[in-house]
């Protein structure tokens, strides 16, 4: 009898408090996974960047020496400097996906027969893997048979070995990356254009606005949410660029197409030796750059949450 009373008492305690307990029960599995695999590793990497470690033996504490080495590489204009510079080029040029995506979206925003199929086919490059995109563009640039050189040859311009030339290689890879990214931005804008207020367009037309003026003063302000998301995913995409570089050039020629994400991988997990601590230091720098954008994004979200 006491057992039964206990049980009912327990149940009622749970019953009374379930609105306080329930969220934690629902959160625990997801949070556990996320903490173990994402949050804690971030701090572990910070810690690791203060050590010299080959991944097997004992780690040796070296303080900020890894960062000092990075600094000297910077001063010597070596791998780190080139990676940073290329990251900056990626960041800036990748943003071209946003206007390019808007342009294609405007071109496709009609209701003619078959347009739905066209829209999906234009989105194609985003759905396929970057590995395949990388292979496709490697052939596109190939100096002996690539379409690019067939095209240049048509105008009497000599063959260019885009991926073998230190001057062009990064731009060539970014161009390949812009292909899927533009498709992504296009979809964002197509959806945004669907939601544009027709009354405002009519009002604009009555006021004599059309073409560029209409686009700039009436349409683009209404596309703000789409632009914001396009900006976020493009920045993140630019800083995460790894697959294309790994597939197309492996950082070459002579390391001239490396970015931080690729350089870090190379230092920590390839023939350049397993320098985990040094790699972690590079990752920390990349993380800190990314953090500026993450903080900005969270701040925007926070304002929006407070606003409703």
């Amino acid at each position: 009898m006491t057992v039964a009373a206990d049980a009912s008492e327990q149940e009622s305690w749970f019953h009374r408090n379930q609105q306080r307990i329930a969220p934690w029960l629902f959160l625990t599995p997801g949070m556990l996974f996320f903490l173990v695999y994402v949050i804690i590793p971030v701090f572990q990497s910070f810690n690791l960047s203060l050590y010299e470690w080959d991944g097997l033996g004992a780690a040796e504490y070296v303080g900020f020496r890894n960062y000092e080495d990075l600094y000297w590489e910077w001063v010597d204009r070596d791998a780190f400097y080139i990676s940073m510079k290329n990251n900056l080029i990626w960041l800036i040029l990748y943003l071209a996906a946003i206007p390019a995506g808007l342009f294609i979206a405007l071109f496709l925003n009609q209701t003619v027969w078959g347009i739905r199929l066209y829209k999906s086919l234009f989105f194609f490059p985003f759905v396929i893997s970057q590995v395949v995109v990388g292979l496709v563009f490697t052939w596109f640039y190939d100096p002996t048979f690539g379409l690019l050189n067939e095209f240049l040859g048509f105008f009497g311009l000599g063959p260019v070995n885009v991926l073998g030339d230190e001057r062009f290689v990064t731009y060539g890879i970014i161009f390949a990356g812009l292909w899927p990214q533009t498709a992504y931005c296009m979809i964002l804008y197509l959806t945004g254009l669907n939601a544009v207020d027709p009354e405002q367009i009519e009002a604009g037309r009555l006021d004599g606005a059309k073409g560029w003026k209409m686009l700039w003063h009436i349409i683009i302000p209404q596309l703000r949410p789409a632009t914001f998301i396009a900006f976020v995913v493009t920045i993140i995409g630019a800083l995460r660029s790894f697959d294309l570089i790994s597939i197309m050039t492996q950082g070459g020629p002579f390391g001239s197409s490396r970015v931080l994400a690729y350089y870090m991988f190379e230092v920590a997990l390839s023939e350049y030796g397993f320098r985990m601590g040094y790699g972690a230091a590079i990752a920390v720098i990349l993380f800190l750059i990314m953090l500026c954008f993450i903080a900005y994004f969270l701040w925007s979200m926070y304002r929006e949450e407070k606003g409703r």
């Binding site: 997801g30 996974f33 347009i115 590995v131 789409a226 994400a261 954008f293």
Partner: protein, 282 residues
């Protein structure tokens, strides 16, 4: 509608537009069409430098047959499915719960936990690389599909939670209040009231995560090696080494590797786009 509907333009503009659509598409997908062309050519065409002409004979069946019966490709494809499907199920299941908790309940740290998921979702992979690889090694899961799946579930939970929480927030809260007045327990509210309403979100996330995971390359390289456990993205690079100059086989292989997410996209287009454009419309 902007730009002005083409039906209201002069006839000439309409015709130009209709003619430009296929041309633009041809230009846009040019590199892919080239690969499709490569994949049906005989090997001799490449040794004779007939790269861009018509195939001297149609060898599509032979080339794709080689990929399926004479290479590791089927293995890699199977691996990809065995990695992708459990990840989709795991990440969606976990985020249904976290999204429910963060979207329905008001408690002090709610917004901070939510921001933790959002921020974690944006970190560069490199900062996780060494510790995650190490953890996987210690668990004895290095070079296994399970090791890859566990990480993918954990990482995707970040994005999925963001998505689910915002979706649940937009549901009518009165439904939950009414259920509470009826004395229905929180667990049953989740299972019988909220979950059925989440079907479109679950569909959207499933296709999206399927594509993300299928296309992942970085973690495949970091956490696995060799044909037993590697997915098709990593497989295609070893394929590349094996068939270096056999462009017809490489092309056929790439197309096979790209097909599942493409098929997924065409089948579930509406949901896919709904997932991608989350928050892009207000």
């Amino acid at each position: 509608m902007f730009p002005k509907p083409i039906e209201k333009q002069p006839r000439a503009a309409q015709i130009t537009y209709q003619a430009m659509l296929p041309l633009a598409l041809l230009f846009w997908l040019g590199p892919l069409l080239a690969v499709a062309l490569f994949s049906v050519k005989p090997a001799a065409d490449f040794t004779n430098a007939n790269y861009w002409g018509m195939p001297s004979s149609f060898e599509g069946a032979f080339n794709y047959g080689q990929v399926f019966f004479n290479s590791d490709m089927p293995r890699y494809l199977l691996n990809s499915f065995m990695i992708t499907v459990p990840t989709v199920i795991g990440a969606v299941a976990l985020s249904c719960m976290t999204g429910f908790a963060l979207g329905i309940y008001k408690f002090k740290s709610n917004l901070w936990i939510f921001f933790m998921f959002v921020a974690g979702n944006f970190v560069p992979f490199q900062i996780l690389m060494v510790p995650v690889r190490d953890l996987t090694l210690q668990l004895g899961l290095y070079n296994t599909k399970t090791g890859l799946v566990l990480f993918h579930i954990a990482f995707q939970t970040g994005f999925c939670t963001l998505f689910m929480r915002n979706f649940i927030r937009a549901l009518p809260f009165e439904l939950i209040e009414a259920a509470r007045v009826e004395g229905i327990s929180e667990w049953r509210i989740f299972w019988y009231v909220v979950l059925p309403l989440m079907k479109p979100a679950i569909a959207a996330l499933s296709v999206l995560i399927f594509t993300f995971i299928w296309n992942d390359y970085f973690w495949a390289v970091v956490l696995t090696q060799g044909a037993e456990s590697q997915p098709v993205t990593a497989g295609i690079t070893s394929f590349n080494a094996q068939f270096r100059a056999a462009y017809q086989l490489m092309s056929a292989g790439s197309i096979v590797a790209a097909l599942p997410p493409v098929a997924m996209f065409f089948l579930m287009q509406k949901h896919f786009i709904a997932g991608l454009t989350l928050g892009a419309v207000k």
